[in-house]
């Protein structure tokens, strides 16, 4: 009898609301999950690019919420921490300030960790810091140090201190992890720029959200439209259809001659 008195009455409408919230499809402009993982290949910078784009989108959402608070800082000038392990640096390079989005150019602090352990340490210390906008990590492969315990540790720290973590997993298999959202990202052909149709356009990625706590899985084409994130359904993307037409014939020589 006593146990029954302690339990809160659960109404059907609550359950319905919760499930509806959980089933809401992911879309740009939502606030960030505390711990997200982005799986990408080391063949290009799509992992870092997409993670950065998603992080900035979440920051914008956060700023929108802040703007309603009259006492909040208008201009977000918090630093971001970008941690890479040695293998990630070797395979995909270091961030290049001039290529970063203009609002982040002067706000990046880079940590070059020697091993995955050091990288995890740096990530955790970064998540504990109240002066950071977000922490970005790039770890190559599936190192032994990054097991479920380590992942859970990062999640809890991120949740406790409210600093989002974007962990890019390069050439990694999706092992056990406590990340709240897990993305798989590949480069996607970009839309043709208006003035030079032959040039590469704004960055675009094919992103698959394959595990999320609050959202059903789904696939999108994410693209960078003048600094803001745009998500379209895969088949509606304009450039997706005519990839074959853009390939030009090779002239004269074959690759065997190179």
């Amino acid at each position: 009898m006593a146990a029954c008195a302690v339990l809160k009455p659960v109404r059907a409408s609550d359950i319905l609301a919760q499930s509806r919230r959980r089933e809401a499809r992911w879309r740009p402009g939502l606030s960030a999950a505390s711990h997200s993982e982005v799986f990408a290949s080391t063949q290009d910078a799509s992992g870092a690019g997409a993670a950065l784009m998603l992080a900035r989108d979440a920051l914008t959402a956060q700023a929108r919420v802040r703007r309603s608070d009259p006492l909040a800082e208008v201009d977000d000038q918090r630093q971001i921490l970008w941690v890479q392990d040695r293998e990630a640096i070797r395979l995909t390079g270091r961030p290049y300030a001039q290529g970063l989005p203009p609002d982040l150019r002067r706000r990046v602090i880079h940590v070059a960790a020697k091993s995955a352990q050091d990288a995890l340490f740096a990530l955790e210390e970064g998540l504990r810091c109240r002066d950071l906008a977000f922490v970005m990590g790039e770890i190559a492969g599936n190192p032994r140090a990054l097991d479920f315990t380590a992942s859970r540790r990062l999640s809890l720290t991120a949740e406790k201190h409210g600093v989002p973590l974007w962990l890019v997993r390069l050439d990694a298999s999706a092992d056990l992890s406590s990340a709240r959202m897990r993305w798989r990202v590949e480069a996607a052909p970009s839309a043709a720029p208006r003035w030079n149709a032959d040039a590469p356009g704004d960055s675009a990625w094919q992103a698959e959200l394959f595990r999320a706590r609050m959202h059903p899985p789904g696939e999108w084409i994410l693209s960078d439209e003048k600094g803001s994130l745009r998500a379209t359904e895969p088949r509606k993307h304009p450039a997706a259809a005519d990839i074959g037409n853009l390939a030009r014939p090779t002239v004269g020589r074959s690759l065997a001659a190179l």
């Binding site: 290009d44 799509s46 870092a48 290529g99 990046v108 602090i109 880079h110 070059a112 094919q206 690759l255």
Partner: protein, 502 residues
């Protein structure tokens, strides 16, 4: 009204001190009261209080530190203050003496003050200077002390009374007489050497104690022999107490009061930079009983929880009676204890670390080279245009980049060689092999030509033609052709992949 302070002795009451009226009537310190009564029948008598006097003198010595950094007692009625290098703060020695007189008069004290290079000379001037007609009792180092003080009586040497008697019987009345013998040269036959004069005095007064040896005292007065003094240092005992609104009778309430007191004590001790070695807890009961519990600690501490825990064991047998109304905690022995660092870990757990603390932690573990910030440098060569600087250094202003210069998100530490199929001599790349895979170039933009920095580099360095490319899968890169076919700086140009676009 003539008044005397007396002490009872075996032979009857003896006078310790008299006031001016009593002195005028003929009473002197050291006289038997009965003798004084015959001279001045209406003399009033009060028992003297030597400990009280000493107590007052100690307080006076502390108060006198307003004129100098430290002071020493000179019982029964004197205070020595070291004013070396402090007199200019009062406008010179004369003004300092004036200030002493004013301040003492304001407190109702009759004072004689003197300033001299040595404690002995100052004492002599203060006690006997007025008698030989010095208006201002100031002796500076340049003065010939012996010549100025020659007229003072030998009593100015702070000697015991029996020694003074001997000197009087020897006919040595003034400092000048004594000094003449000690110096030699002015003996009766006129040829007594210095050594023989000193030797005579030394043989006569063999005592090592300064108060019994006029030679030592004379040397101290002239500054030839050091005279150590014991300074008076103010020490306050940290004390905290609670006067309770309602007498407490229960143990739980007492524990609460105790922990409050311990916290107060810890704060008090922290302010002084000390830790307690001995603590006394006094409990005043309503019925007048006082219970005292003492605690000795192995090492200086100011940990409130620790103190509380230790006292709790000692309070088992306390009988509160009708209640305890005052609880007082006193640290009767404390030792310096440096301020310890607070628990950073707990603070960090609760509020997060600051950026500086975060950088410190990272730097300590990973090394200063691992934690850096990219900064712009004035150069056209892409890898030179970015330098890595310490993260919290001031960021220099730099020229902005033009929007149509598309730069990659990431740059490889070392550009990787690729083999490229392109329309010779300077056409766009069409297909390339990188990391063992052949890729079709679908979109291309370029070239963006970046010439070598001739003012810095050798003349044989080749130019670079950069292309932004996208392959069939949409992967975007930044590659360059190093040189031209006919630039005369090498053979066929090589291709490199340097950056990866987002």
């Amino acid at each position: 009204m003539p008044t005397a302070l007396i002490t009872e002795t075996a032979h009857g009451p003896r006078i310790d001190a008299v006031n001016d009226l009593g002195r005028a009537a003929g009473a002197t310190p050291g006289m038997m009261l009965a003798d004084a009564r015959t001279l001045c029948p209406d003399i009033a008598v009060t028992p003297s209080d030597p400990t009280g006097d000493l107590d007052f003198l100690e307080k006076l010595a502390l108060w006198a530190q307003r004129w100098g950094p430290w002071s020493a007692l000179d019982p029964p009625d004197g205070v020595l203050v070291d004013v070396s290098g402090a007199s200019h703060l009062f406008g010179g020695e004369a003004r300092l003496i004036e200030d002493v007189h004013t301040a003492c008069a304001a407190r109702g004290l009759a004072a004689r003050a003197a300033i001299a290079p040595t404690a002995g000379a100052a004492w002599a001037l203060a006690h006997f200077g007025a008698k030989i007609g010095y208006s201002e009792c100031i002796l500076v180092r340049q003065d010939d002390a012996m010549r100025m003080l020659a007229d003072l009586p030998v009593a100015a040497l702070r000697l015991d009374s029996n020694v003074l008697t001997v000197l009087r019987r020897l006919g040595l009345k003034s400092l000048g007489d004594l000094a003449a013998i000690a110096k030699g040269g002015s003996g009766l036959d006129g040829n007594v050497s210095e050594a023989s004069g000193r030797d005579a005095l030394k043989r006569r007064f063999r005592s090592k104690s300064p108060t019994a040896n006029p030679l030592i005292r004379l040397d101290q007065l002239l500054g030839k022999v050091p005279e150590p003094l014991l300074p008076v240092i103010a020490q306050t005992m940290p004390l905290v107490q609670r006067r309770l609104m309602e007498p407490i009778r229960h143990r739980s309430l007492l524990d609460q009061v105790l922990s409050d007191l311990a916290a107060d004590m810890a704060r008090e001790l922290e302010g002084k930079g000390e830790g307690a070695r001995r603590l006394e807890l006094g409990l005043w009961r309503v019925d007048g009983e006082v219970l005292v519990r003492k605690l000795e600690l192995a090492a200086a501490t100011r940990d409130a929880a620790h103190i509380t825990r230790l006292f709790t064991n000692k309070l088992e047998d306390v009988d509160a009676g009708f209640g305890i109304e005052i609880v007082r905690l006193r640290a009767s022995w404390s030792e310096p204890l440096a301020l310890g660092q607070g628990d950073i870990e707990i603070a960090a757990e609760q509020h997060g670390t600051s950026l500086a603390a975060c950088i410190d932690r990272l730097t300590v573990r990973l090394g200063p080279e691992a934690v850096r910030r990219p900064a712009a440098r004035a150069s056209h060569i892409p890898e030179r245009a970015q330098v890595w600087v310490p993260p919290l250094d001031h960021q220099l202003a730099s020229q902005g980049t033009l929007d149509f210069y598309h730069r990659p998100l990431k740059m490889l530490d070392k550009a990787e060689v690729i083999s490229v199929l392109y329309a010779s001599p300077d056409g766009c790349p069409q297909r390339f092999r990188w990391r063992g895979k052949v890729r079709e170039v679908v979109r291309v933009e370029g070239p963006e030509r970046i010439a070598p920095e001739w003012w810095r580099e050798r003349s044989s360095v080749r130019l670079r033609d950069y292309y932004r490319i996208e392959d069939a899968k949409g992967q975007r890169y930044w590659i360059y052709r190093h040189g031209l076919v006919d630039d005369g700086r090498g053979g066929m140009p090589a291709w490199y992949l340097q950056g990866m676009c987002a």
